[in-house]
C-alpha cells in the first residue's frame, strides 16, 4: 500500500502541476482538500481523470468521489480494490 501511495503522490504532483511540492511533502493521511494540499474543484476533476487514465477506474457519483479523495491513503485503498 505504501508503494501505491507513493506512486499516487508522484502522479498527483505531475497531474495537478503542484510546483515546489515533492512526494515526501505530502502526508499520506492529510486531507487533499481544504487545509491539506489546498486543492480546488478543478483539481477534483483532474483526480477523477487521473484514476481513469492510470488505473481504469471511473468515479460514478459525487459521494463516491468525496470518500475516495479524502487523502492519499483513501485513494490508495480505493485503487487497490478497484484497479483494472
Amino acid at each position: 500500500m505504501e508503494q501505491l501511495a507513493n506512486e499516487l503522490k508522484v502522479l498527483i504532483i505531475d497531474c495537478l502541476k503542484l510546483q515546489d511540492t515533492k512526494p515526501e511533502d505530502i502526508d499520506t493521511d492529510a486531507p487533499l482538500f481544504g487545509d491539506g494540499l489546498g486543492l480546488d474543484s478543478i483539481d477534483a476533476l483532474e483526480l477523477i481523470v487521473l484514476l481513469q487514465q492510470h488505473y481504469g477506474i471511473k468515479i460514478k457519483t459525487a459521494e463516491e468521489g468525496k470518500s475516495v479523495f479524502q487523502s492519499v491513503k483513501t485513494m490508495a485503498e480505493y485503487v487497490s480494490k478497484n484497479r483494472k
Binding site: L16, K17, L18, Q19, G38, I42, D43, L45, E46, V49, Q52, Q53
Partner: protein
C-alpha cells in the same frame, strides 16, 4: 487629470518595466522568461503553475506594474478595473484542450479556454472588483482601450490596468499599463496618443 503611472512590456525573452530592462540578459523561451521574472520579482501565487500561458504572462506583467504601488490599500476594490485585449483570444489553450480530447478531455485546460480568465487571475490576486473587459482585435486598438478606460475612470473607477496580452505557439507579447487619477503633470498624461507612444517607443518593439 488621468495619468499613466506605470507600464511593462514583454517580448522575445525580455521584459521592460517603465522603460528599464527587468532581466540582465534576454532568455530563449517563454518559460525561461516567466520563470526568471517570477524568481527575480518574488511573484507568488498557489495556482500559478496551473495557469495557462496567457494567464501566466498577463498575471506576471500586471504584477510587475502593480508591485510597490500600494493600489489596493489606497483604493476600494470596486474602484479598481482592468481592460485587456489580444488577437488570438484563448486559441493557444483551445488547441491544447482540443488535443486532450483525443483521450480524456482535461478539466484544468478547459477552464482556460476563454481569454477573460487572465483578467480573473489578475483580479483575484490583486483584489480588483471593478469593471473589466477583454477585447479581441487583430492588433492593439489604442482608440478602443483609451475610450473604454477613460470612460470608466471618469465615471466610476480610481485606477485601471489596460493593455495587450497575446500568446500563440512560440509567439507572445505583452504590454500592460496602469492608468489612474493623478497630479496635473504633463508627463504620461492618459491619452490615446501617449498609450500609442509608450507602446511604440518601448525598446522591445524597436529591436
Amino acid at each position: 487629470m488621468l495619468k499613466i503611472t506605470g507600464y511593462c512590456t514583454a517580448l522575445n525573452g525580455q521584459a521592460f518595466l517603465n522603460g528599464k530592462p527587468c532581466l540582465d540578459n534576454s532568455v530563449d523561451s517563454f518559460k525561461e522568461m516567466i520563470d526568471e521574472l517570477v524568481i527575480k520579482y518574488k511573484i507568488t501565487h498557489p495556482r500559478f503553475g496551473k495557469m495557462d500561458r496567457l494567464s501566466q504572462l498577463g498575471f506576471t506583467i500586471a504584477d510587475l506594474v502593480l508591485q510597490g504601488t500600494g493600489l489596493t490599500e489606497i483604493h476600494e476594490p470596486f474602484k479598481l478595473g482592468i481592460v485587456l485585449s489580444n488577437s488570438s483570444s484563448s486559441l493557444d489553450t483551445d488547441l491544447k484542450y482540443w488535443e486532450s480530447t483525443a483521450n480524456i478531455p482535461s478539466p484544468s485546460l478547459f477552464v482556460y479556454t476563454l481569454p477573460n480568465i487572465v483578467l480573473a487571475e489578475i483580479c483575484i490576486k490583486n483584489n480588483f472588483k471593478g469593471e473589466n473587459f477583454f477585447f479581441v482585435s487583430e492588433k492593439p486598438d489604442f482608440k478602443l482601450l483609451y475610450s473604454t478606460i477613460s470612460e470608466m475612470l471618469s465615471n466610476r473607477l480610481d485606477a485601471c490596468l489596460g493593455g495587450w496580452v497575446e500568446v500563440l505557439g512560440e509567439s507572445y507579447e505583452a504590454f500592460i499599463f496602469l492608468a489612474e487619477h493623478g497630479q496635473d503633470d504633463p508627463t504620461h498624461e492618459f491619452t490615446e496618443e501617449n498609450i500609442k507612444n509608450i507602446y511604440n517607443t518601448t525598446p522591445l518593439w524597436n529591436n
